[in-house]
Symmetry: C2
Amino acid sequence: MTTSQLKGNLELLLLAVLRGGPLHGYAVIAGLRERSGGSFDLPEGTIYPALHKLEREGLVLSSWEDAAGRRRRIYELTPRGERALAHQSEQWHSFVRGVNAVLSVVTP
Amino acid sequence: MTTSQLKGNLELLLLAVLRGGPLHGYAVIAGLRERSGGSFDLPEGTIYPALHKLEREGLVLSSWEDAAGRRRRIYELTPRGERALAHQSEQWHSFVRGVNAVLSVVTP
DNA sequence: TCGTCATACCTAGACAATCTAGGTATTGGT
DNA sequence: ACCAATACCTAGATTGTCTAGGTATGACGA
């Protein structure tokens, strides 16, 4: 529905969703879609590579699960991932403040 | 000071700053820096090309001014630019709502 | 007077994030 | 028997921002 364009916040979003508990990649996509009210309906080609990158960075770790003949890769936050989430969360809020400050030039 | 990364919102920021009245490029940079409290201290190599693009898109128009032997290119919003600002402003706010909704998964 | 800083503009190419478009395989419903 | 949904994957295109270079003027202190 809504036009996407994650604007460099995908990492934050993924960490936030995983904060709710371990999830496999496909469920991460569904989770983002639901929790954002449909705003963030992201293609697999965006999510999977991003999760791989998070793992390379040590912010999440993954394990294979074999549920009903279906292989799923389950991701969960590492302690470093939680710290990164806290940090990026702060950065996000300060970014929002910055943009809103500039926008409020228009209507003070 | 703060790490930049405009995250695809530069166009919105430029339009917002110009909403306060016509400015030349260098003043746009200063304006962004001041109004954001120093958060957005953007390099010229980011701003100038972005302004050129806005002009190609018809959202701003420019004229040369010769003040004290100094050539300056003055930018101002077009009606289309004002409409774009309104539209992108809305998109920005809904994007913020989306991200915040996902973030609040963590702390409901 | 000489250098250097701030003003004021510019562009080419590098880099990084996201998306497109393809691929594989299983399960479940019609 | 077939197709949709689930579930994973990657290569390459596209786009936005930044780096790093360039030009030229005016003001200021040494």
